[in-house]
Symmetry: C2
Subunit: 346 residues, 2 copies
C-alpha cells in the first residue's frame, strides 16, 4: 500500500520510465496512443511524482519565495496588503506547478543580509518576488543577484530598471482621483503628502497636480500640506487646512492612514463627511473599508502585480525572457462613502 512510483506506472503502461516522465512533464515526441496509455495508468494508480526526486534530478526546487517587509516591525504594509500579495503570488505559483514560501524581512535587522543568503542556500528557490519597499533596498536585492537567483521587483522606485519589474501607475491614478473630485464640483481640493522617502509619494503628488491641470484648476502650494503617513499627522494636517479662511471642500491624502486622520479631525470639528467635506485616501488598506464613513480610495492591484511577477519568473523558460522595464498594471478608484458632491454654498 505504498505510494506508486514512476516505475509502477511504466510497468502498468508497458513503457519505460522515461516515457512516463515525458508524459508527466508534457514533453513533445510521445505518440498519442502512448500518451493515453500512460495517462490512464497514472489515473489508475493515482500516481503523483515525488517532488524531491524531481527537484534533485532537475536541479530545480519548484519553490518561489515572496519577500516583504516584516509587518511586526515596519509600519509599512498592513496585513491586508500582505495577504493580497500572497494571493496573487499563490495563484501564479500553482499555475506554474510551484509552491510559495513566504519570507517577512526586517531590513533594520543588520543580519537581514546573511538571513537572505541562508534562505537562498537552504531553499534554492526557482525565483523570488520582492515587494515594496524592500524592492528598493540594495541590501535586499544583492544576495539574489549574486546567487543568480531570478528575481522580480514589485513597485521599483525608479522608472529606469535594467530588468523586468512590475509596478503600478501611482501618478496617473492620483490624477484620476483628483479629477474625480473635480467632477463632483470641488474646486478647492487640498492634498496631504506623506513621507517623501517613499518614491511613491512624490508620484502621487505629481498626479494630484496633473489632475488639477486636467480639470482646469490652478495649483496652489498652500493647498498641499505635509504629513508623515500616520493617522495623527493626517488629523493635524486637516486641522491646519480647516482652520484657514478659505477651507477646502475636498482633501486627498497620499495614504489611507492620513485620510482616516482627516475624517477623525473633521468629526471633532463637527464637519460632516462627505456632506461638508470629501475625503479620499490611497492604498485601500483594511482601514479604508471599515472607517466611518467608509473611505474612497485608490486600490492598488497588488494581487495582480504579484501574479504577474511570479509569472514573469517562468516566462523565460517558456520562451523569451520578459523585456526589461516596468510592467505597469493600472490601479483603480474605489469610490465609497467619504466623497460626495461639493456642498452648495449658503
Amino acid at each position: 500500500m505504498t505510494k506508486p512510483t514512476i516505475d509502477d506506472v511504466a510497468y502498468l503502461a508497458g513503457v519505460s520510465i522515461k516515457t512516463v516522465s515525458r508524459v508527466v512533464n508534457r514533453e513533445p515526441n510521445v505518440r498519442d496512443v502512448t500518451r493515453r496509455r500512460v495517462e490512464s495508468a497514472i489515473v489508475q494508480l493515482n500516481y503523483r511524482p515525488n517532488i524531491s526526486a524531481r527537484n534533485l534530478a532537475s536541479h530545480r526546487s519548484h519553490l518561489v519565495v515572496l519577500i516583504y517587509d516584516d509587518p511586526g516591525t515596519g509600519e509599512t504594509p498592513d496585513g491586508g496588503t500582505i495577504v493580497r500579495l500572497q494571493q496573487g503570488a499563490l495563484r501564479a505559483c500553482h499555475q506554474a506547478g510551484c509552491e510559495l514560501l513566504i519570507h517577512p524581512c526586517d531590513v533594520r535587522d543588520k543580519r537581514a543580509r546573511p538571513t537572505l543568503q541562508a534562505l537562498i542556500e537552504r531553499t534554492r528557490p526557482d525565483g523570488v518576488v520582492i515587494a515594496a519597499p524592500l524592492s528598493n533596498i540594495a541590501t535586499v536585492i544583492r544576495p539574489f543577484a549574486d546567487a543568480e537567483v531570478p528575481y522580480v521587483r514589485l513597485s521599483p522606485g525608479t522608472k529606469s530598471v535594467s530588468e523586468y519589474a512590475v509596478g503600478t501607475d501611482d501618478r496617473a491614478v492620483a490624477a484620476k482621483m483628483t479629477q474625480y473630485l473635480a467632477n463632483l464640483g470641488h474646486q478647492e481640493i487640498a492634498f496631504i503628502s506623506g513621507h517623501d522617502q517613499h518614491r511613491a509619494v512624490v508620484n502621487r503628488l505629481r498626479g494630484y497636480r496633473d489632475g488639477l491641470a486636467n480639470a482646469g484648476i490652478a495649483y496652489r502650494e498652500t493647498r498641499v500640506v505635509a504629513g508623515d503617513n500616520t493617522i495623527r499627522s493626517g488629523a493635524a494636517a486637516a486641522e491646519r487646512l480647516l482652520a484657514r479662511k478659505k477651507i477646502p471642500t475636498a482633501i486627498f491624502a497620499a495614504n489611507d492612514e492620513m485620510a482616516v486622520g482627516v475624517i477623525q479631525a473633521a468629526n471633532r470639528l463637527g464637519i460632516v463627511v462627505p456632506k461638508q467635506l470629501s475625503v479620499a485616501g490611497f492604498d485601500d488598506s483594511t482601514l479604508a473599508r471599515f472607517s466611518s464613513p467608509s473611505l474612497t480610495t485608490v486600490r492598488q492591484p497588488l494581487a495582480q502585480m504579484a501574479e504577474c511577477a511570479v509569472a514573469a519568473l517562468f516566462a523565460d523558460s517558456d520562451g523569451q525572457r520578459p523585456p526589461p522595464g516596468i510592467n505597469v498594471i493600472p490601479a483603480t478608484l474605489k469610490i465609497r462613502d467619504s466623497t460626495g458632491p461639493v456642498p452648495t454654498v449658503n
Copy 2:
C-alpha cells in the same frame, strides 16, 4: 565554481560522507575531534546540504503547511490575523529547519477536498497546522488524517479532542474583560453575542456570565443582544440597547467588528465613548487599533498558538509525542481608549 557537495566536504575533512552527514544532522557517536574537523571543512567550503537530496533520501520534505480560511471569500480572518499566525508558524518552522507553505482554503468551494488531497500529494508535508474555523471542519481534517500527515488544530471548538491541539481561553478572558469593566465601576454591562455557529462565541458569552458572577453583578438576559459579527449588526444592537430606559454604561461585544459598530452608533446618537459609554471588543483585529477611539479588546495569542502548533508537530521526533488535549495559551486584555470609568450619575 559549482556548489560544494557532501563529497567535497568529506574529502577535505578526510572522512566519509556518512560522517559528514552525521555532523550536519547532529547525530550522536562522532568524536569531538572528528566533528570539529568536519565543521571546519563545512565552513571553509561554505557547504549547505541540498534539500532535495536530503528529502529524497530521508523521506521527509522539511515543509510545513499552514492552512487558513481564504480571506478573499470568508469574512472570518482579516489580514492581520493571518499574518500573526504566519509569523508564529514561521518562527517555529525555521527553528525546526523547515520552511512554511501557506494554503488559504475556501471551504465553500466544493473542490476544497481534492485540492487538499493534491496539496498533500505534491508537497508531502512533514506536518500541517489548521487554523480556526477550518480546524473544526471535518472535510478539511479528513484528507490529512487519511494520508497520515501529522496535523495540529488551532482553536478546536470542543474541549474533548483525541489528539494534541492548541487553543486559547476565550471563556476565561471574556470573564476577565467583564471584571475589568466592573472594576471600572460599571454595573450595567451589556453583551453583544455573535454568530453562534462559531463555538468561540458561546464560550465568550459564558465568560461574560462568569465575569458578572465574579463581580457580584446579577446576570440579566435583557442585557444580552444577538449580533451576527458584522459592524452593522453591532450598531443595530447598540441602538437597541441605548434606546432602553435603563441604558448600559458599558457594552462588551463578542468581536471587534461589532464593537466598532457600537462606537459608530454611539457617535450618531451623540454619546461620547468612553466618557458616557465604555466599549470593548474581542480579537484585536486591525480595526481595533485604528478605530476612533481605539478599541479596548482581547488579544488572542495567535502567533504563539501557531508557534506551539508547529513545535508540537516535531515534538514526537524529539522524544515522546505531545499528549492529547488542548494546550491552552492565555489571551490578554488590550486596554485602549474605548473604555473608562463609569460616568458619574447626574
